[in-house]
């Protein structure tokens, strides 16, 4: 069992979760595209109590030269949690965790962006977590995808970050902070919503094959929902520009 906090009650007697959600219910997701005027593309995502802002710059010449790839672009991604994003102040700057998340997120994005169109270039993606509850890496992926589309970077598909997990031997969708801290397993995924391909998968804790499959189903369903919100945010941006012009 993960964490070893077996005595924390995470499911209510009526079968709902502590915040009143059903087992397969997501937290509320809101997305805005194009919020940073200076960036080539940007996005703001609020997922439950998580808030992430993402800015995309480029493609530009890759510096330092040693990171250049002769046949494709590299994605230079920086994931960072703001010092004020949690109740305990986070020491500013890179740490082991943010370095890992930057790396896996960049790799997930590289599989959707048509990087071969821009040899020797880099695409700079900056994800800043302003408020953290649980599942910030997924929120970061969702935000980065919208910001990349907003920047006009060619992509095979959008990508959605979403997580499921296990609490009290029950599979639940989209863990909140208590469930993440005291639950038994966590399965964040980066999903390409139109094709259902998986670009990113991590697992923390143990899941049986049945539980894993159920998590997959939950994630796929949630990915479709978030994808709708992503598309709506991108399209709404230009409709609102219509009215505001």
């Amino acid at each position: 069992m993960m964490g070893g906090y077996g005595d924390v009650q995470l499911l209510r007697d009526d079968g709902l979760r502590l915040d009143g959600r059903k087992l397969d219910e997501m937290r509320e997701v809101q997305i805005e595209a194009g919020i940073l005027p200076a960036a080539d593309g940007s996005a703001w995502v609020k997922h439950g109590l998580n808030v992430a802002v993402c800015a995309v710059y480029g493609p530009m010449e890759a510096h330092p030269r040693k990171i250049q790839k002769q046949d494709r672009a590299v994605i230079d991604l920086r994931y960072n949690m703001a010092p004020f994003s949690t109740s305990d102040r986070i020491r500013p700057g890179f740490n082991r965790r943010s370095r890992e998340i930057s790396k896996v997120t960049a790799e997930a994005l590289e599989s959707v962006v048509l990087v071969e169109r821009y040899p020797r270039s880099k695409i700079r993606v900056e994800i800043e977590i302003l408020s953290a509850e649980a599942g910030t890496r997924c929120v970061g992926i969702t935000a980065a995808s919208v910001a990349l589309a907003d920047a006009g970077i060619p992509m095979r598909d959008m990508i959605v970050g979403v997580a499921s997990g296990k609490v009290e031997d029950t599979v639940v969708l989209d863990l909140d902070k208590a469930e993440d801290n005291y639950g038994q397993a966590d399965l964040p995924m980066g999903i390409l919503p139109t094709t259902g391909e998986i670009a990113f998968l991590q697992m923390d804790g143990d899941l049986s094959i049945e539980e894993f499959n159920l998590c997959m189903d939950y994630n796929m369903k949630a990915a479709k929902e978030i994808h709708e919100i992503q598309m709506d945010a991108l399209k709404r941006r230009y409709e609102s520009k219509n009215g505001g012009a």
């Binding site: 080539d40 593309g41 480029g58 493609p59 530009m60 010449e61 002769q70 959707v112 048509l114 821009y118 040899p119 020797r120 270039s121 589309a149 907003d150 920047a151 006009g152 970077i153 060619p154 992509m155 095979r156 598909d157 959008m158 390409l192 919503p193 139109t194 094709t195 992503q230 598309m231 991108l234 399209k235 230009y238 520009k241 219509n242 505001g244 012009a245």
Partner: protein
């Protein structure tokens, strides 16, 4: 707008959206074939021209192609060549032999220095995106007066559509000399007041460039400006 049916409502698509069957049409820019479908790779409007389905992006970056007319800003100078920033991912290289002057080795700085603006053509782009510029050609020169404005690259095509219809409106109403570079930079020369009118017009285009009736709005805008 090329290929757009008159009055037809354009469809706005996001990356990954299927826009048609690969059997029916050919995949143009901003799209890729995936199995049975043609899918969009960019956020933009779906258009069709002669059986080619393409997506006109709302926002795109400049990728140089040979023959493009560009407005560059000199970023560094060597003994026998200049490097110019051309609004793309890589700097363009202008060798001494392709400059319009007879330049002595080591005297490149006397003709163009860092920060100078020039009108050049893209001579060559190789597969690794190395860009060679040339200033040998009619009208290519160092730009000494006027202002350089910027527009999103995807609007450059719009400004030139239908025999430069929108550009001509700007030229006639403002009495300015205007040169449109393919890299999203536009050189405007005239009185300060007229330049600021063109600038305001481009700002308006930036806001409404994705709409259907850009020409009418621009026309209306310039008339209003004249009357005030």
């Amino acid at each position: 707008m090329t290929g757009a049916k008159e009055g037809a409502v354009l469809r706005l698509v996001t990356p990954g959206e299927a826009i048609g069957a690969s059997s029916g049409a050919r995949a143009g820019t901003g799209t890729v074939k995936q199995g049975q479908d043609i899918i969009s790779t960019k956020l933009g409007w779906v258009k069709e021209n002669n059986g080619v389905l393409f997506v006109e992006p709302i926002h795109s970056s400049y990728l140089p192609r040979s023959g493009d007319l560009v407005i560059g800003i000199i970023e560094s100078v060597r003994n026998n060549l200049w490097f110019a920033e051309v609004n793309g991912p890589f700097n363009g290289l202008l060798p001494m032999s392709l400059a319009p002057w007879k330049v002595e080795f080591g005297a490149a700085r006397e003709h163009m220095d860092i920060g100078d603006v020039m009108l050049a053509r893209v001579q060559e782009v190789d597969e690794a995106h190395n860009i060679v510029l040339t200033m040998k050609g009619v009208g290519l020169r160092k730009l000494k007066e006027g202002a350089v404005l910027e527009l999103p690259v995807n609007l450059i095509k719009l400004i030139r559509n239908d025999n430069e219809r929108i550009l001509n409106v700007f030229k006639e109403s403002s009495d300015c000399r205007i040169i449109v570079g393919d890299n999203g930079r536009i050189w405007v020369d005239g009185s300060a007041e007229n330049i600021s009118m063109v600038r305001a017009g481009f700002d308006l285009m930036n806001n409404i460039g994705h709409q259907e009736n850009v020409f009418d709005s621009i026309n209306e805008f310039t008339k209003q400006w004249r009357n005030e």
